[in-house]
């Protein structure tokens, strides 16, 4: 047998002799023989020991990625930067060793590629060997049947018919059977080997599926305020991380409008304020699937022809109207305020560069449930919504062409607006209230509160392949672990007695009832066989 592994029955009390044995590692040849070295290297790579070593390596190399912050891992995008700030000496070294992106590190790839090569090199020859074995008859009985599992010898009622009866019985049990004048040879359990093969090869299929997503897919994020519409072109995304070969010009043509967002929170007990239900009511229109409306919830994404929308978060967008010194509207409508804690205390900025006499900027904190004397919201839902504002004048820095976040202010050329007493001007507004800015700078009105929802938008063209691979993997694995492959022999001796015995070729034992039933059928030692049936 060429395959570079051993089979050994490991069920205790039962010894199965492997068809072949392999030395621990193939003996190394003389260095001058290049091809021999090549063959030795290949044998070593595809040996079972190497497989185990590589599997252990794979497990160990996966560990650091769970302990150190990782780039591109969903939980906290700023984690790596924060870590680098806290450990300025260590971080560059870790980075050089790819320890902030372990799962795309060359050394991690090396381990799994070697493993898959080893696996293919191991499993393919084994298949071909099995193929040949399955096409030929089951092998002859070993000379000493008494050394095999469940060996049984004794007189039978009609020795001349015993072999026919045995062959018939085993065929009915779906064994592959061949017979000679003195022997019946039977084998069953091909499914185990097929399963093992399907399982290992499914790992390669899985790799294709994963590669599909990693090479052609993309992921993006967008925050939509109630009433606004998203058009699926790359410019509309707040953030977009495409795979190297993703076709960003050919994104699925579709539009999505967030009509309404509602959230429910726990209203009592120790879990007060924990989220209980989120719902985004949306309408969409797409070239492929027409128009429709639906709700997107956690665990209930919207799938439009393979482009999926997942609800991942939400927050408030207070609607403020800023009038300038001339009474003209300089800024209006809802502005997204980013939540900073579990109770949705939220920060936001309103920029009014065209205000007269000078550009205006407001910095605000929104509290959905404001409580006197507390700087943070007491509850995530709107019970007593308040927006607290401070104001700035000067150059907003929007004209110099550098990109600036809509959520922050560049304070370098800004002056804080102060009241007559010289203290920074500050107001708290409830919906419907208006405040006048000092010095004839204008006014600000808190009109209303809208909500916004965060959507994760993703397309993974390898997903179906991965799912298929997973199903194949599971079926193959289950077959390979649960089906015993075994042989059964029946021999008629010259003295008129009949012998039967079996052998397991896998780690599952020969099913106990199988030999007993056969003995029953043949009428072999009926008293004993009958007495033991209750055990099976």
């Amino acid at each position: 047998m060429e395959a570079t592994h051993e089979e050994q029955a490991l069920g205790s009390g039962q010894v199965t002799r492997p068809d072949s044995r392999e030395p621990a590692f193939p003996p190394s040849p003389r260095p001058s023989e290049l091809t021999a070295w090549g063959r030795w290297a290949w044998r070593t790579l595809t040996s079972m020991r190497t497989a185990i070593v590589l599997l252990v390596l794979l497990a160990l190399t996966a560990v650091p990625g769970s302990l150190l912050p990782q780039r591109g891992v969903a939980s906290d995008p700023a984690a790596v930067a924060n870590f680098a700030r806290e450990h300025p000496d260590l971080a560059p070294w870790l980075d050089r060793l790819s320890l902030f992106n372990v799962y795309s590190a060359p050394w991690f790839a090396a381990v799994y590629v070697l493993l898959l090569v080893s696996m293919t090199g191991c499993v393919i020859p084994r298949c071909m060997h099995l193929w040949r074995e399955f096409r030929s008859d089951p092998p002859a009985a070993p000379r000493h049947l008494s050394r095999e599992t469940g060996h049984l010898v004794g007189p039978v009622e009609r020795p001349q018919d015993a072999l026919d009866a045995a062959a018939g019985h085993l065929e009915a049990k779906r064994f592959r059977v061949s017979r000679t004048d003195t022997e019946v040879r039977a084998e069953k359990g091909r499914l185990r080997e097929l399963g093992n093969l399907a399982f290992h090869l499914s790992l390669l299929v899985l790799l294709f599926g994963i590669a599909g997503g990693k090479l052609f897919g993309y992921e993006g994020r967008v925050a939509l305020v109630e009433g606004t519409t998203f058009a699926n072109v790359s410019a509309s995304y707040d953030a977009l991380s495409p795979a190297p070969w993703a076709d960003l010009a050919g994104l699925e043509p579709l539009e999505l409008t967030l009509d309404d967002f509602s959230a429910e929170f726990e209203t009592e007990g120790t879990r007060l304020g924990e989220p209980r239900d989120f719902e985004a009511a949306v309408t969409y229109s797409s070239d492929d699937e027409g128009e429709g409306s639906t709700t997107i919830r956690p665990n209930q994404p919207l799938d439009i022809n393979g482009t999926k929308f997942f609800l991942t978060g939400h927050g408030y967008a207070p609607e403020l109207t800023v009038r300038d010194g001339n009474g003209d509207v300089a800024a209006s409508g809802p502005t997204i305020f980013l939540p900073v804690d579990q109770t949705f205390t939220s920060d936001g900025v309103i920029k009014a560069p065209d205000a007269r006499p000078g550009s205006l900027a407001l910095q605000g904190v929104f509290l959905p449930t404001a409580v006197t004397g507390m700087a943070v919201s007491a509850y995530p839902d709107q019970v007593n919504p308040i927006v607290e504002l401070t104001a700035y004048t000067g150059d907003l820095g929007l004209d110099d062409g550098s990109t600036q976040s809509v959520f922050t202010l560049d304070f370098t050329d800004l002056d804080q607006v102060r009241g007559k007493d010289g203290k920074p001007w500050r107001v708290s507004l409830a919906p419907g209230q208006t405040a006048r800015l000092p010095g004839g700078l204008g006014s600000v009105t808190f009109d209303d509160v809208s909500r916004f929802a965060n959507f994760q938008i993703a397309r993974d063209p390898g997903k179906e392949v991965s799912l298929l691979a997973a199903i194949l993997l599971l079926l193959g694995l289950t077959a390979s672990l649960s089906v015993p492959r075994r042989r059964i022999w029946v021999r008629r001796n010259d003295d008129g007695t009949v012998e039967i015995a079996g052998r397991s070729l896998s780690r599952r034992p020969v099913p106990p009832g199988e030999l007993e039933q056969l003995a029953d059928t043949l009428g072999l030692s009926p008293a004993d066989a009958g007495g033991r049936k209750d055990q099976t």
């Binding site: 490991l10 205790s12 492997p18 185990i52 599997l55 252990v56 990625g65 007990g269 938008i457």
Partner: protein
């Protein structure tokens, strides 16, 4: 019955179960200490001239004697304790109005029940010797730890945890985990005995083996169901979140274990690999939930 009643009932069942398991442990200790009155034959007598030697049942000369009265009492207590934890799980589910595995306390509770049931199911008709007592220790530790340091009152789930796939995923993970726990216990017992006797196979290795063969596909399924859920919730089926990573590490160690079992001369190492797999599983359950921040950490400690 109100939700609060059901929750109280569940807690009561848990407390009683702890007491009953403790009593069982005491009884096992007593049974081991008392001298045997009567040495009986454990094996089925082989009839004279009968040719049927049952080697197909994988039992390596179990040194089992018929249990003494104290021993039988211990078994009865173990069964009673198991029934009580199962009732506690059911009551907890009724109280919460959902599958009772929504936070760490509930994982611990349901996991204890699963360990006890898995072990009792395996034990039927098999000689397991002192393993029963160790199994009771395991359940006591797991259940005790859950009650003392993980306890949370019944509550609703945060929306992202409210998914059918999650129910399936966690159920499979708990089942596999319970089997892994039994397997680890048996592996340790086997390795200890092997050090003394040098025997390659005994009833412990047999138990470990059977349990691992069942547990591995279930764990594989649990990981896959988790991936399907993650796809539904976050838009990617695998993201190397710490929880996912340790599930993967667990899986790979057990795969290595199965390979080592098939490799001549690697039996002992196979045992260590299985223990490494179980350590990874435990770390995923306790360490990752408590120390490592990630998307899964809102599962509620």
């Amino acid at each position: 019955m109100t939700s609060l009643d059901a929750a109280r009932l569940s807690d009561l069942f848990v407390t009683t179960a702890l007491a009953v398991f403790a009593a069982a442990l005491l009884a096992y200790a007593l049974a081991a200490a008392l001298p045997r009155s009567r040495q009986a034959r454990a094996r089925v007598a082989v009839p004279a001239g009968g040719a049927l030697v049952d080697e197909t049942r994988l039992q390596p000369e179990p040194v089992s004697e018929p249990p003494s009265r104290v021993g039988r009492g211990a078994t009865a207590l173990t069964v009673a304790g198991t029934i009580l934890v199962c009732l506690a799980v059911v009551a907890r589910g009724v109280a919460a109005g959902r599958a009772p595995w929504g936070n760490m306390y509930e994982f611990g509770l349901t996991g204890s029940a699963a360990v006890a049931v898995a072990f009792l199911a395996y034990r039927r008709g098999r000689p397991v010797g002192s393993l029963s007592a160790w199994m009771v220790v395991l359940v006591l530790v797991l259940l005790g730890l859950s009650v003392t340091s993980l306890y949370t009152p019944v509550d609703d789930l945060v929306p992202v945890l409210n998914s059918r796939w999650l129910v399936v995923h966690v159920a499979a993970a708990i089942t596999a985990g319970a089997l892994f726990a039994v397997g680890a216990l048996a592996t340790v017992a086997h390795l200890l005995r092997q050090r003394r006797t040098g025997e390659e196979d005994d009833q412990f290795s047999e138990l470990a083996h059977t349990v691992h063969l069942v547990a591995f596909p279930i764990w594989t399924f649990a990981v896959m169901a988790g991936a399907v859920w993650a796809e539904n919730a976050w838009g990617r089926y695998w993201g190397w979140d710490p929880k996912e990573t340790w599930a993967f590490i667990t899986w790979v160690f057990y795969a290595a274990h199965l390979h080592a079992l098939s490799t001549v001369g690697w039996r002992r190492r196979a045992g260590y690999l299985a223990l490494a797999g179980f350590a990874a599983f435990l770390f995923n359950f306790f360490g990752v939930n408590i120390w490592i921040p990630g998307l899964h950490s809102y599962a509620g400690v």
